[in-house]
């Protein structure tokens, strides 16, 4: 047992944080919001220089960990780019030529759609097709979301279930990064802000709220790393169950943690000048596409019935 991230991934994360900082950090997302029609070449170039494009996540565990860390770092600045979609292994093992995303087949949509002329999409059932993005919604909650038009029907593909699991894990890492940053800025804000003659952190309610959020975020980090490890070691069906579990938990955690962090900012929590408002707003598509936690929970329970759930006891075949 060694629950530590491999050293190279830690170093990779540090480089990614510097690179995303050089791009302007969260200001990149702020700026992109006013220019959502144009793919941001500088981000693509920065990811290329980092070597994100060369990470072979299925064959190299260090590379998979580096990919997860890249998504965490991207989440910290809600980088307006589908990093997870590009890191997801292709269905046939070749190099990925277009980003991947899970979609709701009844109304397929992807975040950051306009960054690529073509996407590979899947309902998560082992089938895929390609799709072309429309124009961004350009709303406050979905600034970069585009609906996509499939170019054909969804066809079975060998690696499609594995791809779905990797994508879910990577997008959950994006959520994790955003939540870790949300908690950091909330600690900073409540430590610096004084009301009633004291810093907000002097009030036990505030401390307890921060502590609860910390436990939630720490738990999500553990589950993310565990799932990352499982994706590299477990069978595809097992990894699929674990990825569903992670996604569901990430969605549930995000809802509570973002609420707490926003609340502790007071009115500043809805104000774009503050990082917390940007994080909460720009993360919404990741939290809602392709589906909500209840949908995932229903699917998860069904999958556990068939294939079980890794733990100390049996869970398969439940009635």
């Amino acid at each position: 047992m060694n629950p530590l991230l491999p050293e190279p991934a830690v170093a990779f994360g540090e480089s990614a944080r510097r690179a995303f900082g050089d791009l302007g950090g969260i200001d990149r997302a702020r700026r992109a919001e006013h220019d959502h029609d144009h793919p941001d070449r500088a981000i693509a170039d920065a990811l290329g220089s980092l070597g994100v494009d060369d990470l072979s996540v299925t064959t190299d565990t260090d590379a998979a960990a580096a990919g997860a860390v890249a998504c965490i770092e991207a989440g910290r600045v809600v980088l307006p780019w589908p990093v997870a979609g590009w890191l997801t292994p292709s269905c046939d093992g070749s190099a990925r030529t277009r980003p991947f995303a899970l979609v709701d087949p009844t109304d397929p949509a992807v975040d950051h759609g306009a960054t690529a002329p073509r996407w590979e999409i899947s309902p998560g059932n082992g089938r895929v097709t390609t799709a072309t993005p429309g124009t961004p919604l350009a709303t406050r909650l979905g600034p970069f979301v585009t609906r996509v038009t499939p170019t054909g029907g969804f066809e079975p593909a060998t690696g499609a279930l594995a791809a779905a699991a990797w994508w879910s894990m990577f997008t959950s890492c994006r959520i994790l990064g955003a939540l870790e940053r949300a908690l950091e800025v909330t600690v900073e804000h409540t430590s610096a802000r004084h009301q009633f003659g004291r810093p907000l952190t002097a009030f036990q309610t505030v401390r307890f709220a921060l502590a609860d959020a910390k436990v939630e975020v720490a738990g999500l980090r553990e589950l993310s790393l565990f799932t990352l490890w499982r994706l590299g070691t477990a069978s595809v069906p097992d990894a699929h169950v674990d990825a569903l579990a992670l996604r569901m938990h990430a969605l549930d955690t995000a809802r509570g943690v973002l609420r707490t962090c926003r609340q502790l900012h007071g009115a500043a929590g809805v104000c774009d000048e503050y990082e917390i408002a940007m994080l909460g707003r720009h993360l919404q598509p990741t939290l809602r596409l392709p589906d909500d936690a209840d949908t995932v929970a229903v699917e998860l329970a069904g999958s556990i019935r068939v294939g079980g759930f890794d733990g100390l006891f049996d869970h398969a075949g439940h009635r």
Partner: protein, 378 residues
């Protein structure tokens, strides 16, 4: 005991609902959208309501109202908020500025300020919060200094709703060098007075909703003081209590739950139990608000009841927002007339995030409920 709101109130509800649906298209989401026509429509609607005698139906007859009882008032608040507040920013003047002027104003102030509010002619804003005085409102430091028989006001307000379009502001400032409630005084200030500068704040709410307001040596006359010099805290308390029950958030929650259920795709199966639970919680929030209203009408102390209602309803707001988002997927991120519920889910989510902050945070409401619960034991 009788929970029937009564025939008059029921008829009023029908009348208001008809008037709203005849005036506004189903995609209307309030005054603070990216389309300036929405704000203009709310201003015109206030005039219509005034002409029909509905704007101040709940005001006493001596102030130009129709003398409706508290349940008539309640119905007005419910129908307005349920339908995205078609009175726009004027609800502020109607809900509490008018009543505060009635309670604390001089005869001249009443004569000057109540008719324009009743006619639907004026937008008021509330200048309470400051950068260093949020939850701790009594720490406010905007200063009013007597200069002959005029006052010179200097300081900064923040999060002032509608300041950019308001003609008047109820401003809380401090006279003298006291601390806490001491010296806090309310001023009725025309927003076009020299020395006032409004700077909009970019938020996830609609454009120009929240603002910073700077007061630089703003001069007002003696007739600007509302209530006693140094007696401002009583006005603030009254204003906030009105505000806490004044916005019938549960009504919008219930309408959105209904629209979701009767909409094109209905409620997804997986969310049915959550939907039903929320419907019950929304009813509970409404009943808590009714309890506060009934207690207030009977002359009882309703502070803690108003806070309890506020805690319940603001939580409903956020949980309903989450349910709508979960049910609508990408549609819940979309805005505009063609989006599901005409974009009401996207709109509601954004505003719901501010619900537990505005008019005193949910933590402040908890303090009030706890103080009441614990009494001397605290």
């Amino acid at each position: 005991m009788d929970f029937d709101i009564g025939n008059d109130a029921r008829q009023l509800r029908t009348r208001l609902r008809t008037s709203i649906t005849e005036t506004f298209p189903p995609e209307f989401l309030g005054a603070f959208t990216d389309d300036p026509a929405d704000m203009a429509a709310t201003q015109a609607f206030c005039k219509t309501l005034a002409d029909q005698g509905l704007l101040t139906i709940a005001w006493p007859t001596e102030h130009g109202g129709a003398g409706g009882d508290v349940w008539a008032q309640t119905v007005v608040r419910e129908e307005m908020w349920a339908h995205h507040e078609p009175r726009g920013p004027q609800y502020m003047g109607l809900n509490w500025v008018g009543p505060a002027v009635m309670a604390f104003g001089t005869a001249d102030q009443k004569a000057r300020h109540l008719p324009p509010i009743a006619a639907g002619d004026v937008i008021w804003c509330q200048g309470f919060s400051e950068p260093d005085a949020g939850s701790d409102l009594a720490a406010l430091s905007t200063r009013a200094v007597a200069d002959g028989d005029t006052w010179r006001i200097t300081g900064q307000k923040i999060w002032t709703s509608y300041a950019g379009i308001a003609q008047w502001c109820v401003l809380a400032a401090r006279v003298g060098h006291g601390t806490g409630h001491e010296g806090i005084t309310m001023f009725l200030v025309p927003m076009d007075t020299p020395g006032i500068r409004v700077v909009p704040i970019r938020t996830m709410l609609g454009p120009h909703h929240l603002n910073e307001v700077f007061f630089d040596d703003v001069i007002v006359g003696p007739d600007a003081v509302l209530g006693a010099v140094g007696g401002g805290w009583a006005v603030i308390k009254e204003a906030l209590a009105h505000e806490r029950v004044g916005i019938a958030r549960y009504a919008r929650c219930e309408r959105l739950l209904s629209l979701l259920a009767t909409g094109e795709d209905g409620i997804p199966d997986r969310l049915r139990t959550r939907w039903a639970r929320l419907l019950v919680r929304v009813r509970v929030a409404r009943l808590l608000a009714y309890r506060a209203v009934a207690t207030q009408a009977a002359g009882g102390d309703f502070d803690a009841l108003a806070s309890a209602a506020r805690i319940a309803v603001t939580r409903c707001d956020q949980d309903v927002a989450d349910l709508l988002g979960d049910a609508l997927g990408v549609g819940g991120l979309d805005a505009g007339a063609d989006a599901p519920l005409h974009g009401a889910a996207e709109d509601h989510w954004r505003y719901a995030q501010a619900a537990t902050i505005a008019s005193g945070t949910i933590e402040v409401q908890r303090m009030i409920v706890a103080r009441d619960l614990l009494g001397n034991a605290s």
